[in-house]
């Protein structure tokens, strides 16, 4: 007897709940929308996009009051992240370490081939550069690229084959060597060969290399993203490390894009584009600067100039562009493989 009545209750409850859900969803779709965005990003941006994701809903609700928004970021090696989007990870937005990884997605039809022209500054809301992190007081007196290949200096940098950040490190060294008096592809290859002979550990990711240098006390100098180096020296021991900015280094441009095919499927076109626009807004630019990414907006640049040391940079286009560089250096049997062959 008791059983029957309780079952009836359950049935009734389900009906009421169902009706409420239908009514509720009807109401909410008339007034406000419920968005879940996924930003697939690379390794050193966890803190940056954590802040951006918290700030973005307020930006959106200025024009779309009442919407409920949850933005999630996923982080990992830039290449691995691009591959997971390529294989079907439901990313609305990609914010990766280098343009080549987004080009691959475009080649496979996930977004338009001209993606990089859709937003200002080559779709790059923040730039960075490659610097050296050394032990406090710079005991090995490392100031410039030639110092890295002196006897007794150990250099920590991840494997360019598996890490996007490491590819920037590598290309910074390559570009510097090319620009030396009498520099040629041969002399640059020779420099890289000497450089990697000083590398005791090739970690698979940028964070792995930072950990090897910082936590395990390996090596004398870490080649790293500027944001990564500043973050590490701030969070992991301000009294343990110094940052050395080489006089000539690379301009690192980690770009952003919406994944057209996915946002159409998810119905998130407008909000995904707004998310990217937010990155270029004064507020987004300030959040970037707070996490040591160099802003591209001239006003915010002026505001935050004291944070970022001055240096001369060259860009990837001056080295031939990603597609060419990737093929020549990092493909199977490319220059990076050659410097390790016997």
């Amino acid at each position: 007897m008791k059983n029957v009545s309780s079952r009836r209750y359950v049935l009734k409850g389900t009906l009421v709940l169902g009706a409420a859900l239908i009514a509720g969803s009807g109401l909410s779709s008339a007034r406000a929308a419920d968005y879940r965005l996924l930003n697939v990003s690379y390794d050193p941006t966890r803190e940056l996009y954590g802040d951006i994701n918290r700030a973005f809903p307020a930006f959106w609700s200025k024009t779309h009051a009442g919407d409920s928004i949850v933005v999630t970021s996923s982080h990992g090696g830039s290449g691995a992240q691009a591959r997971s989007v390529l294989e079907g990870a439901p990313a609305d937005i990609v914010t990766l370490g280098l343009a080549y990884d987004i080009d691959i997605l475009a080649q496979n039809g996930l977004l338009a081939a001209n993606w990089q022209t859709r937003l200002p500054h080559n779709s790059t809301p923040y730039t960075s550069t490659i610097v050296f992190l050394v032990r406090k007081g710079n005991p090995k007196s490392i100031h410039d690229w030639p110092d890295l290949i002196r006897d007794g200096v150990q250099v920590v940098t991840p494997n360019p084959k598996t890490s996007g950040g490491a590819r920037w490190n590598y290309l910074a060294a390559w570009g510097w060597a090319l620009r030396q008096p009498g520099g040629s592809e041969q002399s640059a290859t020779a420099y890289l060969k000497a450089l990697f002979a000083h590398v005791p550990v090739l970690d698979t990711g940028a964070r792995g290399a930072t950990n090897s240098f910082v936590q395990r006390g390996l090596g004398d100098v870490l080649i790293a993203w500027e944001d990564e180096a500043l973050l590490a020296s701030r969070d992991l021991g301000p009294d343990k490390f110094d940052i050395v900015v080489p006089p000539l280094t690379i301009l690192a441009e980690p770009p952003v894009a919406t994944v057209d095919r996915n946002i159409q499927e998810h119905g998130t076109e407008a909000i995904s584009r707004a998310y990217l626009e937010f990155l270029f807004s004064p507020e987004g630019q300030r959040i970037g600067a707070k996490h040591y990414f160099r802003p591209v907006d001239p006003t915010i640049q002026a505001e935050t100039a004291s944070v970022f040391p001055k240096t001369t940079t060259f860009d990837v286009a001056s080295l031939g562009g990603w597609t060419r560089l990737q093929k020549a250096h990092f493909s199977d049997g490319g220059i990076f493989d050659q410097i390790y062959s016997h």
């Binding site: 996924l38 697939v40 390794d43 966890r46 803190e47 999630t72 970021s73 996923s74 982080h75 990992g76 992240q81 997971s84 390529l86 294989e87 079907g88 990870a89 439901p90 496979n108 990711g205 964070r207 969070d235 992991l236």
Partner: protein
């Protein structure tokens, strides 16, 4: 048998083996606990309350339970088939079942992408019909199923081999059917080996990292299992939170072993 010299030897051997366990296993585990408790028990527990951490724990428990049930059922069937009957191709079948152990975890994840990824055989078609396997929970389950596939069979087989067939054949001749023979005669007798196999499966399923990493997409709160979340935390310089979760996995593993010990004891009492 307990004469004096053998007692000395037994103490010596015990010390030796305990020393090895301390060096090989205890020390890394102590390090994990040490790192987890660096800021005190409270701070460590607090990190586990984070919504993403809780979702990772839930997902891991769910995947582990599902995988253990499926692979235990399959594993019993396989061990029974391979030890109680002679048939052509049985050696091949054994090799096939052992195969997942020699497949690198990286590949164990990749093969499912070859089937269910957008670049794979059926991924686009399935996605078109609203079925998401890769970068969703089903993909994680499949990768874990593959990785933990052989353990029940492998622990049961040597035991069943040694057991022979006489008991089952007798049971059958006395009128017991197939299921009755399996459930009442073979399994109770192999109980210890079976539990051992289930435990290995559970432990491995909880801790699997490489295969799941390939197919999960690392989406926090959705497809991040405990091992993946540990990596995310560690890479985010949240080392206390990372090691707290690793310590929780260690505790899970110890708990399953305690359950096994309890079952084993009650099972022995019942059986004697």
């Amino acid at each position: 048998m307990n004469d004096q010299p053998s007692k000395t030897i037994s103490i010596l051997l015990t010390l030796l083996s305990y020393g090895a366990v301390v060096l090989l296993i205890v020390l890394p585990v102590v390090l994990i606990l040490h790192e987890a408790l660096r800021q005190g028990v409270h701070a460590a527990l607090e990190t586990l309350k984070d919504p993403e951490a809780r979702s990772a724990i839930r997902l891991t428990v769910y995947v582990t339970a599902l995988v253990t049930v499926i692979n235990t059922a399959g594993g019993i069937a396989a061990a029974w088939t391979l030890t109680k009957y002679d048939f052509r191709g049985s050696r091949f079948l054994v090799s096939l079942i052992e195969l997942p152990i020699s497949v690198s975890p990286v590949i164990a994840g990749l093969i499912w992408l070859l089937l269910f990824g957008r670049q794979g055989w059926w991924g686009t078609w399935l996605a078109h019909h609203g079925v998401h396997i890769a970068f969703a929970v089903p993909g994680i389950v499949l990768a874990t199923l593959f990785v933990t596939f052989p353990y029940v069979t492998r622990t049961l087989m040597p035991y069943m081999e040694q057991q022979g067939r006489a008991t089952e054949e007798a049971a059958f001749l006395l009128g017991a059917g197939f299921w009755r023979t399996l459930i009442r005669v073979t399994l109770p007798d192999a109980g210890w080996a079976l539990l051992s196999g289930i435990l290995l499966t559970t432990a491995r399923a909880m801790g699997e990292f490489g295969a799941v990493a390939v197919i999960s997409g690392h989406i926090p709160g959705v497809t991040e299992t405990m091992p993946l979340h540990i990596e995310t935390l560690y890479n985010g310089y949240q080392s206390v939170a990372a090691f707290a979760m690793a310590a929780l996995l260690v505790l899970f593993a110890m708990t399953t072993v305690l359950i096994r010990m309890f079952l084993e004891r009650s099972f022995r009492k019942q059986h004697l």
